[in-house]
Amino acid sequence: MLQPEMELTVDELKHLVSNRAIEGDTMVLNMGPQHPSTHGVLRLLLELDGEKIITCIPDIGYLHSGIEKNMEAKSFEKVLVMTDRMDYLNNLGNNLAYCLAIEKLVDLDVPPRAQVIRVLLTELQRITSHLVFLGTHALDLAAMSVFLYCFREREIILDIFEMCSGQRMMTSYFRPGGLWRDVPEGFEEVVQNFLDIFPARIQQYEDLLSNNPLYLDRTKGIGVIPTDMALSWGATGPPLRASGIAYDVRKAQPYSGYEQYEFDIPTGENGDVYDRYIVRMEEMRQSVRIVQQALDNIPEGPFRSDNRKFVPPPRSELAHSMEAVIHHFKLWTEGFTAPKGEVYVPVESPKGLLGCYLVSDGGSNPYRVHFRTPSFANMQILPKISIGCLVADLVAIISSLDPVLGDVDR
C-alpha cells in the first residue's frame, strides 16, 4: 500500500529557521537533491535574504541503501563487497578499513608483501579521489578543462586497479589476511610510468588554478572553518588540516606499516576553500612520495596469510590435499567464525577519518558493522560555515568539503 505523502509541518521546522522566514520576510529555497553541484543527492533547504544565506538545513538520506543492515545478514567475506559501495571513490580504502577490523578481531597477521601493496594501492586511490575532487571542484567554479585533465590521469590509475583486480572501481581486492591474488606481471612498470608523469601533471593543474584571479576570488576567504570549531564539529581529513590542525591517522596511529614511510602532513592556515584545495594538492604529492617508497621496497613472499582457518588455500593445493578441500569448502559455504568481541579501527581515507566498528557474537556473520564515515561527519559543519555566504559560494564550499553521498548515507 502506498501511503499518501505527508509533508513536514511548519512547526516541525520552526526552530531551524529565523522568525523572518515564518513571516515571509525571507525566502526559503530548496536546493537539490537533483542539482549538479551538490555532488550527488544532497538536498539543502536554504533561507535566503536576497542572495545571502541566513540558514542552511541539509537534508540527507536520499542515497540511504541500508548497507549496515544488509551486512548483518552476510558472512564476513561477503560483507567486504559492500564496503566498496559506500565511498565509491575510495573503494580500496574502505576495503582496507574493513580488513583491518577483521584482522584485529580474529587476530590474523598479514604478510609484509600484502601490507606494502595495500599501502601502495590505497595511496593511488587517494590520488584518484583527490583528482575527482579537483575536477568537480573546478567544474563547479566553471573551469571545465581541469576536469578533463583530472579524469585523464584518473583513468591511468583505474587501469592499474583493473590490472590487479579485474575491476576499475568496485575492486574488493583486499581480503582479510592479505590480497585476493598477487599483483600481475608488469605492475611495477605501469606504476613507475605513472609516477614519472604525474608530478608534472599536478604542476599543470596548479598552473591552471592556483594563481588564476577568477579562481582566487571565488575561493579565498570563503567558507572559513575556524581552528577551534573544526575538531569539535567533527571535521577530519583535508577540511581539518586546512584549518591548521595536523591530525592524520597515518601518522597518529599508524596502521598497515605506515610508520615506515616518509611523508609530511600538509596543513593550511586560514581554513578557507582555497586552503582545502592547496592541502589536497600537496597531499597528492605526498602520496606520490609514499607510492614511490612502497614501489621500491615491495618485499618478496606470500601475498596473503597461510592461516587456513580464515584464508582459503590456493587452488593448486585442492588437487592433492584433503585438508585443503575441507578448508576450501568450509570457507566458501559457512565462512569463518570470529570470537565474541568488538573492535574499532580508524584509518585515514582521502576524505578524513574512516572508522570501522565491528561487533561479533561468535558466529560467522558480523553482529553489527558501523562505519564512521568522513563525509557524514564533515557534512555536519556545512550549515555552520555557509551562513552569510552567497548561494554561488555555497557551491564552492560544498565541493571543497568533497562529500560523496554514498558515504554520507550508506
Binding site: 501511503q3 505523502e5 505527508m6 513536514l8 516541525e12 526552530h15 531551524l16 540527507i60 538520506g61 540511504h64 541500508g66 549496515e68 543492515k69 544488509n70 545478514a73 584485529k104 578481531l105 587476530d107 575538531l231 569539535s232 564539529w233 567533527g234 590542525i245 591530525y247 597518529a252 596511529q253 568481541g341 568488538e342 573492535v343 574499532y344 580508524p346 577519518l353 572508522g355 566498528y357 561487533v359 553482529y367 553489527r368 558501523h370 564512521r372 557524514f376 561527519a377 557534512m379 555536519q380 548515507d409 550508506r410
Partner: protein, 173 residues
Amino acid sequence: MDDVKAIADLVKKEFGEKILSIDEFRGEFNLSVDADSISQVCQFLRDNPDTKFNFLAALTAVDFWPEEPRFRVVYELYSQENMLNLGLRVLVPGEDPNIPSIESVYPNANWHEREVYDMFGITFEGHSDLRRILMPHDWEGHPLRKDYPLGYEEVQFSFNFDEIDQRKRYARE
C-alpha cells in the same frame, strides 16, 4: 598520560560506581558507564588535562534483542594530544530507551545521535533537534533493530503462487 589503562583507572577513581566495568579486548579499552552520568564522564574526559579526549570520533549503537538490557550505545573518543582511543559504552533498556545527550560536550554528537535515534529509536534527552536523519520523516519503525525484517521478497513456488500473486502490484489487463 599516554596509557589508556591509566586513564581508565583515573576515570574509575573519579566516578566510582558510575563506571560499571572496564573491558579490554585486543588492546582496546571500553568503559561501561551508567546512563545518567555519561555527559559528566564525557565532560571530565574532555576537560581533564591528563586525558584531553577532545574529539568524538564515532557514536553508534548495537541492538541485542531479545536480551535485556537491549541496546548498547557506543562512544569512541579520541585524544589528539595523547593519540589514544577510548570507548565508552552505555546500556539502555528496551522499554522506552532514553539517555542524556552529549551534544553540550561534543557538538558533533548532534547528527550521530540523530542517526542512532533514526536507526534504533533511542531518544536523547536534551538534544536540540531530534528528527530522523536518513530515513524519510514519516517512516515507521527503526531499521537497524534486530526485530526489523530485512525485507526480502518471498519466493513464489507453485503451492503459494496464487497467494503471492494477489499481493503483487504489477499492472493487469
